[in-house]
Amino acid sequence: MIGIVQAVSRFAIPVFIIFISAIGFYRKVPVYEAFIEGAKEGLTTVVRILPYLTAMLTAIGVFRSSGAMELLIQLVSPLTELAGIPAELLPLAFMRPLSGSASIGILAEMLRTYGADSFIGRTASTMMGSTETTLYTAGIYLGSVGIKDTRYILAAGLFADFMGFAASVVVCSILFGS
């Protein structure tokens, strides 16, 4: 079972790349030109998220270096341990539904502090990849049709986020060990 799972991780990207370029070629897309055109967007994307990265990395760096993070973790860890979630993951869990760019900053800081291949690093990566910026998406989509009432969207969306976080912890402890 775990062998299959690891194979999925290992082959997903190569298969995806072969698949896309083969279909593109088959459908007579000028693959090289199309790639260049898209790659230019990579530059603008980085320029766009750089201010967010700086803001979040600095704020979290200060919060951690001052000892405030440790204080917070000690404060809430009895609660989070009940749910089996390491308290170190909380900053990301709070930021994820609010802002995509800010949570990229938080994840980057966590990967740097705990290491990308640590349990915290892997679980944080999984949390980030398995959920969306719920509040932002709901705001934009509803705003586009001029609706302010959210009915049960936030309740269901945030519940889904919470379940995604919990599942990330469980799946990562099974796959990578804690």
Partner: protein, 198 residues
């Protein structure tokens, strides 16, 4: 909300630093972090260019259109109230496929188009229909098969195997998506009763 969080992290951090006597290290950490942000940005640029380039090839090859035909029947199951052949179903399936492929820039306009079509069918223009609610809940789950941003960040952080989280992410996504859809379907009945729609 995000203003308050940021302020608490930054100002709260410095205030705690006064008490713990870490003021100097904390000031240094602020500058270090800002410097690291730019280094990280540079490290991310190449990987972003690679992915966004590939994604443009996928988009030009018409992958969104090809796949969206396959999932339209599934959407009809989830949205039984919508008239068959409604342009809303088409726009929704294209949006979902774009999300699965990680084509964020293509997904948003398609999603907004779907919302516009759903609003045309919505009897109460000030309140989202059940179809809109369910569509939004699906959209707030991350459907992306390959979490490219996370892989880029892991690779920039020096991971030995940046893509090893693909399978765990897939499992967690599925759990989050199923929870969201189930919650929406249950809450729909509850809200209909409360609002006297039935």
């Amino acid at each position: 909300m995000i203003n308050i969080i940021w302020l608490v992290l930054l100002a709260g951090g410095f205030i705690v630093a006064f008490f713990t006597g870490q003021t100097e290290q904390t000031t240094q950490a602020a500058f270090d972090s800002a410097k690291y942000a730019v280094e990280l940005g540079l490290n991310l640029t190449g990987i972003y260019c690679l992915w966004l380039g590939l994604m443009r090839v996928a988009e030009k090859a018409g992958l969104i259109r090809v796949f969206s035909r396959k999932i339209a029947p599934l959407l009809r199951l989830l949205f039984p109230d919508l008239p068959s052949g409604s342009p809303a179903v088409g726009a929704m399936s294209m949006n979902i496929i774009a999300n699965i492929l990680g084509l964020g820039n293509a997904a948003t306009p398609l999603g907004l188009k779907a919302m516009g079509e759903l609003q045309k069918l919505n009897p109460d223009k000030r309140s989202p229909s059940d179809a809109m609610c369910l569509f939004l809940v699906i959209n707030t789950a991350s459907l992306q098969i390959i979490p490219t941003t996370v892989i880029a960040l892991r690779s920039a952080a020096g991971s030995a195997d940046p893509s090893e989280i693909v399978s765990s992410t897939l499992a967690a996504t599925l759990c989050s998506l199923l929870s969201g859809v189930t919650a929406a379907l249950i809450l729909k009945r509850f809200y209909r009763r409360r609002e006297g729609r039935i």
